[in-house]
């Protein structure tokens, strides 16, 4: 995959994946997502055992992608590319308009379609966290004309929880790439007497937390609040970011844990107060949460057991596995290669980058092969978060 400096403008520091996700021309990063000893061992073991040589493949992903582009001149690739010309691709955003998935899908769609010579229609399919949209993508015909974005972390948490509804196996999906991700933020009402996350560690009264059922926010709520032993009443059942915002503004709950960009306006308008971020925000988002402690800094202040720490770190790592573009299982490999090339082209397209900056969505791409490896690793590792998800 070809990565340009433009594409990595907004890369968060410390973006390290479960697999030691290699970025084109970049090295592993430090920070919160550079795993602790336990997680690193788990990750490396999982990667090596589950994916065989995929780590090696992913570390050379840039080369692989480059060669994929080069091999576009081959007849198979040319044939696959010509297949998409004039076709209509449905790109499913498993959230309502205004959510992160919707924003990423609409940012990518024009350049993605341009590369393929196809029309890309973004379709919002909210519900069940991102499960409803995921089911729809996974059940589509494997012709490459129905694609979408997945919340791998949320979906995997749903599997660990044995939550009914999810009808696909993450490792069987056809992975195309991840455009980027952003930190999650723990918010409270602006007039709340709680002024810091640390203050919650001593509270005895359960706090009311609202969120969307399933998804990364729900997982973070359960794991982080559970590991830090913050008494809480989790009120899930909201079906999209829009309804969650409405519930929060109507004071149906006092706290929520969700991805940062959709809540930018509430923070700027002093309608929500950030207490914690899962990792440092970069670019235009950094000003929103300047001075807000990160989860790693809070972890260092309290004494948690190794299991609790591992659970928190695993949850945060899973939360970075979001916005992964994929398709149903069984997309022919030549077409999948072309789709990955189209993705690589889209995430380095100057118009895409400008639009992403305008909409405060970080572009920090990972190619399809690496995403596939990351997913395999995430699925195969020990679910230290299970205690909190099932508790």
């Amino acid at each position: 995959m070809t990565k340009t400096s433009q594409a990595t403008n907004d890369q968060p520091e410390g973006r390290v994946s479960l697999t030691g996700r290699s970025r084109a021309g970049t090295t592993r990063r430090k920070g919160l997502r550079s795993r602790g000893v336990v997680m690193s061992a788990l990750t490396a073991g999982a990667l090596l055992s589950a994916c065989g040589s995929s780590a090696a493949k992913s570390s050379s992903s840039s080369t692989a992608s480059g060669s994929a582009t080069t091999s576009g001149s081959s007849s198979a690739a040319a044939s696959a590319l010509s297949y998409f010309k004039g076709k209509t691709i449905t790109l499913i955003a498993p959230d309502g308009p205004g959510g992160d998935y919707d924003l990423y899908a609409r940012i990518l769609a024009p350049a993605f379609g341009q590369y393929l010579g196809a029309t890309v229609n973004v379709e919002n399919v909210p519900g069940g966290g991102t499960v409803v949209g995921g089911n729809q993508i996974a059940s589509a015909a494997p012709n490459g004309l129905t694609l979408g974005l997945f919340s791998v972390g949320g979906d995997e948490a749903s599997v660990i929880e044995n939550h009914p509804g999810q009808n696909f196996t993450l490792t069987k999906l056809s992975w195309i790439g991840q455009p980027g991700t952003s930190p999650s933020v723990f918010l409270t009402q602006p007039n709340s007497s709680v002024t810091s996350f640390a203050q919650l560690l001593t509270t005895k009264t359960p706090i009311n937390v609202v969120d969307i059922r399933n998804g990364t926010g729900d997982m973070l709520d359960r794991v982080v609040l559970g590991a830090f032993k913050i008494p809480n009443k989790l009120l899930t059942g909201f079906t999209s970011v829009a309804t969650l915002k409405q519930g929060f503004l109507a004071h149906d709950g006092q706290f929520l844990f969700e991805n940062l960009p959709p809540f930018k306006a509430l923070i700027q308008g002093n309608q929500a107060k950030p207490l914690l971020v899962t990792s440092p925000a970069v670019g235009v988002l950094s000003g929103l949460v300047s001075g807000v402690p990160t989860l790693s800094s809070e972890l260092s202040k309290v004494s948690l057991s190794s299991a609790q720490q591992a659970a928190v770190k695993e949850a945060v790592s899973l939360a970075t596995l979001a916005f992964d573009m994929g398709g149903p299982p069984g997309i022919p490999s030549a077409r999948l290669t072309v789709l990955r090339d189209a993705f690589n082209s889209a995430v380095t397209n100057s118009a895409t980058l400008a639009q992403a900056k305008k909409e405060s969505e970080p572009i920090d791409p990972i190619n399809g092969a690496t995403v596939a490896a990351d997913v395999a690793a995430a699925v195969s590792q020990g679910p230290s978060i299970a205690t909190y998800l099932n508790g």
Partner: protein
């Protein structure tokens, strides 16, 4: 504020902006008129272009498209009993009967003028409400959403002579249909039976196209008549005068417009559902407070104004939660918010502080585009009205072709096409048997919101919502009071209910029994799902079981009691010659038309009832006439299925013109063969061109399985 108001208007003063505002308005009017196409689809198509426009120009184009569509959605509602969008359903209730009376021009003028006046009143209200947007939206919690949906259903039950049990059963059926697909909370698939095509649920577009467009066409095909039976030539000359009369009516009844507009603005503030329920509630409320409440549904200007006064006003109101809080009230506003985001604007409180004049620009766009669409509408009304004099069989291929294409365009799957045929059949039954299409539509559209918020009410509030949600208590109080008042009114005046005779003595109990069986099966299946996904559907299904059982007992008893006199009458008249009274030309007068919007079908049914009251001899001839009509209706349904099947087999661009031509030749649309052939060729060319344009415009690629 004045400064922002002026700045908001001056921002529009650019040739490009004005041009795109007018273009958007005209596109909105065009798509609003075409059943199934819908403004949401067109707004979605505009999204890719938005990023190349300035903020004000993009806003002008998108909002003008929406504003233009509101009046035009009422055009087909009035002329063909087929609302351009589901929200326009209440317009059919008085608009279509007026068209049947030959007053289409007057009805269109009332619709255009009241839409504009309501919108302008809403713009004035918006200026004040912008200052208090946040606190108002914060009043709505899950219990308020649940109870306002119940209130909407109860208001519908008030507005006609349909028994409460039928309205509740209709609403329950709508809700039950809405639960098909993935549970929005857990993601569990419900009632899909493993069919991926049902994962995304049942769409409101195929439902509307089937229940309204197809049913109306099939009904008119059955009777072989036009909407109005009045003389075509005379009407053509009158339409101009009717338009002036309609404008005059609206200004004379200005307070009805004002009431609807204010109510709609307030409902527009409710994020998520206000936009859809506003027209229904405005109509219901308008009837409750009107002196002519009994005449609502028979084609009175007050009824039309009550429905249309809120049409644009609700969208103006919905700008507030959308812009100030980023919370859309309807699908159009959802796409508009997406456009704002693409433009780099973040809908929310910061938008009001960073660009304070922008909401006023939006308001001006609504006002200007609303005015332009009103003027265009009034100019076109006399010509458009002529369509009411065209016989149903001549319109059939065009409208059904549009319905089939629109249902495909909605989700780009053949599932929608199948659904439109299924709902065409269902629509014919529910109209004939007097069920409430309005309640069913509300149930289907708002079922998801009802489910989510009932779940949230249970999770967050439990029964404590009674003490914690005063606004919900108010909605419940009004709902209960209206039900009690209705019960008292019906008890005092039994004549206001339907007569003790069954219009379809065999079909009604059979249909009740079928609903009972389906409802019981539905409950059993729902109980098999995890509690979070199955409880609400099971509860709604239980209501349907109770209501359908009640209907079965009631209709069964009525049929049993009425059976003997009819048999005796038949015996006494056996051997008597049957005079050939005709039903033709009698549908113009439809006193007591039910709220269910039964349209052409109700004309026949009510007429049958009137004739029955005239004497047994004439009553005996009705089954003959009905049978002929029913046979033609079945033929109409078969042709609809043929359109769908040919599209599936041969693709839309080939199948639709082919079946159109076949229809024209086979159904004797014209008496002579040469004229029929010319009509067949012309129809094939037009429907083929529509299909080709549709596919090119939306980049569809389906070419049929053959």
């Amino acid at each position: 504020m004045i400064q922002h108001l002026v700045h908001g208007l001056s921002a529009l003063a650019s040739p490009t902006t004005i041009l795109l505002l007018v273009v958007g308005m005209l596109i909105g009017m065009l798509v609003g008129m075409l059943p199934g196409l819908g403004v949401v689809l067109v707004l979605s198509l505009m999204l890719p272009f938005v990023r190349h426009l300035s903020v004000v120009t993009a806003i002008a184009m998108m909002l003008a498209t929406q504003a233009g569509s509101y009046f035009s959605a009422s055009i087909t509602a009035i002329l063909l009993n087929t609302p351009g969008s589901p929200e326009s359903f209440p317009t059919t209730l008085d608009g279509f009967p007026m068209a049947q009376r030959g007053e289409a021009g007057r009805a269109l003028a009332i619709s255009a003028t009241s839409t504009l006046l309501g919108g302008l009143i809403a713009c004035v209200a918006l200026i004040g409400l912008l200052q208090v947007a946040g606190p108002i939206a914060a009043l709505f919690h899950p219990p308020e959403y649940v109870t306002i949906i119940i209130l909407a259903l109860v208001l519908i039950a008030q507005t006609g002579v349909i028994p409460l049990s039928k309205v509740l059963l209709s609403g329950a059926i709508g809700l039950m249909l809405s639960f098909v697909g993935s549970d929005p909370v857990s993601g569990v698939e419900r009632f899909t039976f493993g069919l991926p095509t049902l994962f995304s649920g049942i769409g409101i577009v195929p439902f509307s196209l089937g229940v309204f467009a197809v049913t109306q066409m099939v009904s008119m095909f059955g009777t072989n008549r036009a909407v109005t039976s009045f003389d075509r030539g005379a009407l053509g000359g009158e339409f101009g005068g009717q338009v002036r009369r309609g404008v005059s009516d609206t200004f004379r009844l200005w307070y009805h417009v004002a009431r609807s507009a204010v109510l709609a603005v307030l409902l527009g503030l409710v994020p998520g559902i206000g936009g859809f329920t506003a027209n229904f509630i405005s109509y219901g409320f308008g009837q409750q407070v009107s002196k002519n409440r009994k005449d609502f549904g028979t084609g009175v200007p007050e009824g039309l104004i009550a429905a249309e006064g809120s049409s644009l006003a609700k969208e103006v109101g919905s700008l507030i939660p959308a812009v100030a809080l980023g919370l859309p009230s309807g699908l159009g506003m959802v796409i508009f918010l997406a456009a704002l985001t693409i433009l780099g604007l973040e809908p929310g409180p910061t938008l009001l502080t960073s660009t304070p004049s922008l909401p006023y620009t939006m308001m001006w766009v609504m006002a200007v585009a609303g005015t332009l669409s009103c003027v265009v509408g009034l100019l076109l009304a006399p010509r458009l009205s002529r369509i009411t004099a065209v016989r149903g069989p001549l319109m059939f291929p065009f409208i059904v072709a549009l319905a089939v294409l629109g249902s495909y365009a909605n989700a780009v799957t053949m599932t929608g096409v199948v659904e439109v045929v299924v709902f065409g059949v269902l629509g014919l039954f529910i109209r004939k048997l007097g069920y409430s299409v309005a309640a069913m539509a509300i149930g289907l559209v708002l079922g998801g919101t009802f489910d989510d918020n009932l779940h949230l009410t249970g999770t967050i509030y439990g029964w404590s919502f009674v003490t914690r949600s005063p606004l919900a208590d108010v909605f419940i109080f009004i709902s209960v009071a209206l039900i009690v008042a209705t019960a008292i009114r019906w008890r005092r005046n039994p004549a206001s209910q339907r007569s003790g005779r069954l219009e379809h003595p065999v079909l009604e109990p059979v249909f009740d029994a079928a609903l009972l069986v389906v409802s019981v099966a539905y409950v059993l299946v729902a109980l098999g799902y995890p509690p979070a996904a199955g409880t609400v559907p099971a509860a709604v299904g239980a209501v349907a079981v109770a209501m359908s059982a009640f209907r079965l007992l009631s209709d069964g008893r009525t049929w049993w009691h009425s059976r003997m006199p009819i048999v005796e009458a038949v015996r006494s008249l056996s051997g008597s010659p049957l005079p050939g009274a005709s039903l033709a030309g009698r549908t113009g007068s439809v006193p007591g038309t039910e709220f269910a919007g039964r349209g052409g079908a109700v004309g026949e049914v009510l007429l049958a009832e009137e004739l029955t009251e005239q004497g047994t001899t004439e009553a005996l001839e009705i089954p003959e006439d009905r049978r002929r009509v029913h046979l033609r209706e079945f033929a109409g349904l078969a042709w609809t299925a043929a359109f769908a099947l040919s599209a599936y087999l041969l693709g839309f661009e080939v199948g639709i013109p082919l079946v159109s031509a076949g229809y024209c030749m086979a159904t004797r649309t014209f008496p002579t063969l040469p004229r029929r052939a010319v009509f067949a060729v012309a129809t094939a060319l037009v429907t083929g061109a529509i299909a080709v344009e549709f596919f090119q415009l939306f980049h569809f690629t389906y070419s049929g399985v053959l």
